[in-house]
Amino acid sequence: MTRKSIWAVALSTTALCAAPGWAQDDKIIVGFATAESGFMQAYDKPAQDAAMIRIGEINAAGGLLGQQIEVVTADTKTDRAEGAKAGLTVVDAGADLVVVSCDYDFGAPAALAAESSGKVSFFLCAESIKAGIQGVGPNSFSASVLAGVQGATMAEWAYNKKGARNFYRLLDTWTEYNKGICDGFDYMLPKLADANLVGEDTFKNEDASIAAQITRIKSLPAEPDAIMLCTMMPGAVSAIKQIRAAGINSMILNGSGVDGSYWLSAVPDLSNFYVPVQGSIYGDDPNADVTAFNATYKEATGGDPSTQYVYPGYVMIDVWAKAVERAGTTETAAVVAELEKMTDEPTLFGPRTFNSEIHHQNRARYLIVETNTGKPAVVDEWTISAPIPVADLMK
């Protein structure tokens, strides 16, 4: 290449980078800065589909504040730097609500971009306390329920409804989510009279064998009543399989991360296995509207919801639209103020509460799904007796 052609290249690349900026007002726009490619897409897409169903319902019923809700999207490509750009892209496109990735780590850059532009942001299904005021800022919310509530719910429910007294805690240290479940369990256990922690252990999601941990459970004087298993896919399947293969028949308590029947064939005839869920994907939700929603979801996407993580997307648009309706505007401060007034606001998937201290659920109604001989079904529902204090969640 000659010098001249190098100059031509340099100049033409400069010229190619021109992009027009635009801004829109007096429309109601929801911006999705979520993953349309990369591994987070598997988490973001189902929840986003559910959000789109709620937007469709609102538009069909005449819209929000008399206007149709419009949607803009930007792909984060499951990359943090792209996430920040995606957040700015939807803000520039006039988004009044910025929806960001399910996971805290991957959603935070876009949420921070929205926060610095003074927009309301919602994590699709993040379950860390940081997905909100504590991590992003005063205009950030999460549509799901804290991981700690899941651990606390399972402990309290098993204690009250199953008579469990001796608990064993098995933590997979891979993610914040796993640690969150066990933190909630740790918070609840001392509050339960004569409940004991007979042992605790850790493993890593990628461990091929947890034989050492199982040996320690087996060498206890008596089999524990319940094992609090704080883990997630993909390692969860292997851990559960090994526990059962070793002949340990204690009830296994989990977080919502192992919801779904897609993996059950790997552990044939699994029984005595309990998961908290926000709504049932198995067609037996006590609320018939949830089953109707599942049918709508199937119609819209061609498949049944595969896990309960579809539902927070629907809840998110629902509570945000209500707040906008009450505020009479999409202006950030007014909408946040209305969201913070919500106390036990009814939604399809249980009541939701936000206040000026926490933009997340530190207490929520959970359905308890029991898997019996390989068949999951809703057997009960439980709401923890008191919300988990923010100070305990910040540990």
Binding site: T14, A18, P20, G21, A81, V91, D92, Y104, E176
Partner: protein
């Protein structure tokens, strides 16, 4: 002295032209007035800093380093330690020493210290690594990267382990990044024409003859390694301020190979190549992204399937390396078109 000044005068055109190109991008971002486009240009400037940082060591010494992104990680976390409000640090990183816990600097001060912090570590690592050469040195630098990332992924009380570190003030103004990139370019130029830079390039091309002429090869490499560590640390600090979040896995293989391939495509032995490699590949990525989204041309919308961007980028890189094996610039530098006939190239010297 007289000779040195004349080398500087003969070659000053290169950093000046490169800076003008970068300034052109900054003005383009201002003119476009779009926030995501501004962020794209910021990202290009950050890559320029990182790739120029790589060039200072790799280009002059000929030793390929897979470990430099480790210094970026050190710089990014140092910036986080120095700029996050003390209250937030107390929650996420309780193990920090008290004096650091109470420190809160403006971003530019923190970026300078972060560069110095990375340079100190580059010096320490370099004292050991620079005795190696060839593939052994490359593997050792990779081991260093793995070590830094492993420590930062597990030292819970000081780096918050794999959790995102938040609370870093976000800087969306384009000028600090432009200044950072221009500083990197001038540092690289200054080093390349200095006595040690020339000695290092001599050692790259003819190690035996260079050593016989009295060049202490490990020493010259160590100087370049430390200097490039500082530039990488500066890049890391500015990276942290550009998105406001740092995690260790951001600074691992993905970024290592992106920056290395930009350097290789641009031309490893040339500062202009380092800058143009970034500018050309980043522009190409951006155009392909727009095409993925669909671009309005006249009355019809042109769009390509999602994911084609990565494939097209790969194909372009292969083509460049087939037809320009030494990279776009080879060993040449940009200089004034009129002046070039009278003077020999210095870049590949």
């Amino acid at each position: 002295m007289i000779k040195r000044a004349s080398v500087a005068r003969r070659t000053i055109a290169t950093p000046v032209i490169l800076s003008v190109i970068l300034l052109g991008f900054a003005l383009l971002a201002l003119w476009a007035g779009s926030k995501p486009f501004n962020q794209t240009i910021i990202e290009i400037f950050l890559r320029v800093i990182l790739v120029v940082g790589l060039y200072i060591f790799i280009g002059n010494s000929g030793v390929i380093s897979f470990g430099h992104i480790g210094f970026t990680c050190l710089g990014a976390y140092a910036a986080a330690w120095l700029t996050i409000p003390p209250m937030m640090k107390g929650i996420s990183m309780p193990g920090l020493p008290d004096w650091l816990m109470q420190t809160q600097l403006p971003y530019w001060g923190a970026a300078g210290l972060a560069a110095a912090f990375a340079a100190v570590f580059a010096l320490i690592f370099g004292l050991i690594l620079m005795r190696l050469s060839g593939i052994a040195a490359s593997i050792a630098t990779f081991a260093m990267l793995a070590m830094i990332i492993t420590i930062y992924s597990n030292w819970e009380s000081v780096t918050a382990a794999t959790s995102s570190v938040i609370g870093i003030p976000i800087v969306r103004n384009i000028w600090p990044y432009l200044i950072g990139a221009v500083i990197a370019v001038f540092v690289a130029w200054g080093h390349a024409i200095s006595r040690t830079g020339l000695a290092l390039r001599a050692a790259r091309d003819e190690p035996t003859a260079a050593a016989a002429s009295g060049i202490d090869i490990p020493r010259e490499r160590l100087i370049a390694f430390t200097l490039s560590g500082a530039v990488m640390g500066l890049g890391g600090a500015l990276f942290a301020h550009s998105i406001g979040v740092v995690t260790p896995d951001t600074f691992y293989l993905g970024l290592t190979f992106t920056t290395l391939s930009m350097l290789v495509v641009g031309g490893m032995g040339s500062l202009s190549g380092a800058v143009l490699g970034v500018v050309i590949l980043s522009s190409l990525i951006q155009v392909l992204r727009w095409l993925e989204k669909g671009m309005q041309i006249g009355t019809s919308t042109l769009s390509i399937p999602n994911g084609l961007q990565e494939i097209a980028l790969g194909v372009v890189m292969i083509l460049i390396l087939i037809f320009r094996p030494a990279g776009i610039m080879g060993n040449n530098e940009l200089s004034w078109p009129l002046a070039r006939a009278e003077k020999p190239d210095h870049g590949g010297a």
